[in-house]
């Protein structure tokens, strides 16, 4: 069947159920005067209860946000119908005293007071059985209720060892699963003799489990007691809300107003109830009773875990405590890794910065040195050029002087032929006096290029020395 077909089929079934019961309710409504006590307004919600069961099964398969929302819509509707039921029932009860001349407000107060008295006298009417038993200190009933819950909790673990049936000898031989069976046996015994054993000291092989079970049971009872106190707080708030609603309705009547639909009354109720609740919830007693319930529940949860650990250990499964140790270790290691990673990154960054700074500094120095070298080279070249020029001048002057001397010598040696002879510059070389270094020609003298080369060699030598 298609999805939408399913919905339509269920819708039809639901509406038919509603129609059937609605007819009954209409009949009851016709008799609505308080005379027909059998026509309970509860019929108004009977159709809902009947049909909703089918719907809830279907909703279970819807899943996701949609399924959750549909379920909440149903829950809200259910609460609304319960309210309608309560109102119709209240009106039915108001009819007789009003017919006898009692003012409606007074009749309403009396009706609410009667309900309140009844609920206080019989908490079992509105409290969960466990809480009611805790209030009345009915230990046997409490134990029975607790055991039901404890067995449900332990069921998966017990099932897993159900095939390993054995006896005490197995436990003595090291079969830890036997302890579960022993515990089970102990539980049965404990259950049958609850009145006698509650205060008795723990004994025997299952002493550890027995102690844990008793402590868990005590913690569980504390939860139920706290639950009873908190439920009473909530119920009292409910009564105060009803009284506040009565006042609100009275005020409306005094202003000439009227309420002609359950929806309108419900909205007024929510407004009044929420305000009353907010005031009460802010009070110290409410905060304390709520905190007591939560704290007691947490306390029991710790004991419940301790009991479960008996099963887990027996099955050689890791316990919550052991896992927690591992998780803690993991967290510490992860924190250390992060811390170290951060430190490494910081060091790496610092190293990079230092490198960059060093490079910059060295670069600057190199640039400065090169600049300096360039300037020195230029200066040197200039000096060399000047020296070169001067040397060249000197050579020329020397040559002239030599020419003059030669000419004088020639004249002395041969006065007649010497006249008019011109001495070629190159000829003087062969006639240099012995032991005297010949003067270099400009081409042979040191040039700026060779000077730079020699300067570079000198720098290289300095660098090597450095």
């Amino acid at each position: 069947m298609e999805w939408t077909d399913q919905v339509q089929a269920l819708t039809r079934a639901w509406l038919e159920a509603q129609q059937t019961v609605a007819t009954q309710w209409a009949t009851a409504g016709q008799r609505f005067s308080g005379t027909d006590k059998d026509a309970g307004a509860a019929q108004a919600t009977q159709w809902y209860e009947t049909a909703a069961k089918g719907f809830e099964r279907w909703l279970g398969g819807m899943g996701g946000v949609q399924g959750d929302v549909a379920q909440r819509l149903f829950d809200g509707t259910k609460t609304y119908h319960r309210f309608a039921e309560f109102i119709v029932d209240t009106m039915k009860n108001l009819a007789p005293p009003m017919a006898q001349g009692t003012p409606w407000a007074e009749a309403l107060q009396q009706h609410l007071a009667a309900i309140q008295e009844k609920m206080h006298a019989q908490p079992g009417l509105w409290m969960r059985p466990e809480a009611a038993a805790a209030v009345s200190a009915d230990a046997a009933q409490l134990w029975e209720l607790y055991l039901r819950q404890a067995k449900a909790m332990a069921a998966p673990w017990l099932e897993s060892v159900s095939e390993a049936r054995g006896h005490w000898g197995e436990a003595m031989a090291g079969d830890h699963r036997a302890i579960i069976r022993a515990a089970d046996l102990f539980t049965d015994t404990f259950e049958s003799t609850i009145g006698k054993l509650l205060g008795a000291p723990a004994i025997g092989y299952s002493r550890e489990y027995q102690e844990k079970l008793v402590k868990a049971f005590e913690a569980w009872v504390e939860v139920r007691k706290a639950e009873a106190v908190f439920s009473t707080e909530l119920v009292n708030i409910g009564f105060r809300s009803m009284q506040a609603l009565t006042v609100a309705v009275q005020e409306k009547a005094q202003d000439g107003g009227k309420i002609d639909s359950v929806q309108e009354l419900f909205n007024l109720w929510v407004e009044v109830a929420e305000r009353t609740y907010a005031e009460a919830a802010r009070s110290e007693p409410f905060a304390k009773s709520q905190a007591d319930l939560v704290n007691a529940a947490m306390h029991y949860r710790v004991h419940e875990r301790t009991l479960l650990e008996v099963y887990q250990r027996a099955l050689q499964l890791p316990t919550r405590r052991e896992l927690d140790d591992a998780y803690k270790h993991l967290h510490e290691l992860r924190s250390q890794v992060k811390k170290l990673t951060k430190q490494v990154a910081a060091l790496d960054g610092a190293l990079r910065e230092a490198n960059a700074a060093l490079r910059e500094e060295v670069g600057e120095k190199l640039t400065a040195a090169e600049k300096l070298n360039g300037e020195q080279d230029k200066r040197l070249a200039k000096q060399l050029t000047a020296v070169e020029k001067q040397a060249h001048k000197g050579v020329l002057a020397l040559e002239k002087r030599l020419d003059r001397r030669l000419a004088g010598l020639e004249k002395k040696l041969n006065p007649s032929s010497a006249r008019g002879t011109v001495r070629k510059p190159g000829a003087a070389k062969a006639e240099e006096p012995a032991g005297r270094a010949p003067a270099k020609t400009p081409a042979e003298q040191t040039t700026p290029t060779t000077a730079r080369k020699s300067a570079a060699r000198a720098r290289g030598n300095r660098a090597k020395e450095g």
Partner: protein, 355 residues
């Protein structure tokens, strides 16, 4: 005169009509196969453990130069700030040229129960901030903290004032010892150590139940009766389902972080006393010297105005703007007024402060 003139026949008619509407609505719900949340396009840019930093794709070419990092609370999921088209604070910020990033805390696993507030604030937030500083080449970024995320942002700003250019706090609890907040009153008598010992990570359902108990009739009953009127409109229904998904999508709370937040903040009220320690360093709100824009909701039942509004008294900043915004804790993101007014005000405030 007796004011209750409820006619059974008429009531019956109304009940039948109501139930028919309810059934049609549930039929409509069943036809919706997927409830999508989160509207704006985004990309993962950084990850540390389960924490992810998302960058929303900018809507404008010219962006404000300093990015905004949204720090959401650990409770509930951060897609509330971008839940759907037309109801998205992120979308509105993008349209005003804000470069938006969001840190998503994820769902803590059992093995993350030992995560501390130091891990969150000194670790994850700092990691995200450093990533953004490097990515954008800026010394500091803008933080926008929401609810508990606002408290975290305050702590971070006090610890690293040089890394935060401007701080925006929205519906942020600051003074935890106020009596008009039920959570503030209720939490004082809880045995938090026992709770963390019992639960490990605090279940999201447990937290959620506490939030619903703040207004049980309105939140658990009346809301669902009222919604039947919109169940037949698919768009409205989808919006409703998105909100429902968000409300009940509650991650567990890492045990150690929860312990410290409850004990030091809710029970000890140490933030305003300057006694909170994060990662071994004391959080002094006087170190919050950057400009602060504090926005609180006037009808907030989770973080009452009295808890938020006096932030200016505790921080060291001389530039504190306080904005009371009409509405509740959630309405500040999704109400139509918030869409029109809030993001533009945040963007203008940022622009006026060197962005």
């Amino acid at each position: 005169m007796f004011p209750l003139l409820i006619d059974p026949a008429k009531t019956l008619e109304q009940a039948v009509a109501f139930n028919q509407k309810l059934l049609r609505g549930i039929d409509s719900i069943a036809k919706i196969r997927e409830v999508d949340v989160g509207f704006s396009a985004k990309e993962e840019v950084y990850r540390e453990d389960e924490v992810v930093l998302y960058h929303y794709v900018p809507a404008k070419k010219r962006l404000l130069p300093v990015p905004v990092l949204i720090v959401y609370a650990l409770v509930n999921r951060p897609y509330m700030v971008d839940i759907e088209q037309g109801r998205s604070m992120v979308q509105n910020l993008l349209e005003h040229g804000v470069d938006v990033y969001l840190v998503d805390w994820g769902y803590p696993n059992h093995w993350e129960k030992f995560l501390t507030l130091g891990d969150y604030i000194d670790g994850y937030i700092d990691g995200c901030v450093d990533f953004l500083r490097q990515r954008h080449g800026v010394d500091s970024v803008n933080l926008l903290g929401v609810c508990q995320g606002g408290t975290f942002s305050l702590c971070y700003s006090a610890l690293y004032p040089d890394k935060v250019k401007n701080l925006v706090t929205m519906v942020t609890p600051v003074d935890f010892h106020v009596d008009d907040g039920l959570l503030n009153v209720w939490s004082r008598q809880l045995d938090v150590d026992l709770m963390v010992d019992a639960f490990g990570n605090i279940p999201g359902e447990f937290m959620n139940f506490g939030f619903l108990m703040l207004k049980p009739w309105q939140l658990m009953v009346q809301k669902y009766l009222g919604i039947t009127s919109v169940l037949e409109d698919e768009d409205d229904l989808r919006s409703f389902l998105r909100m429902e998904k968000w409300i009940f999508d509650s991650p567990d709370q890492a045990g150690e972080a929860f312990r410290q937040f409850l004990k030091d903040f809710y029970q000890g009220n140490k933030l305003i006393k300057g006694e909170v320690e994060i990662g071994g360093r004391r959080v002094d709100l006087k170190n919050v010297t950057m400009p602060v824009f504090n926005i609180y909701a006037t009808e907030d039942h989770l973080v009452p105005p009295s808890s938020s509004k006096d932030l200016f008294q505790f921080v060291g900043s001389r530039d504190v703007t306080t904005l009371p915004f009409p509405g509740g804790h959630i309405g500040i993101y999704v109400s139509s007024r918030a869409q029109r007014e809030l993001a533009p005000q945040v963007a203008e405030w940022l622009k006026a402060r060197g962005n």
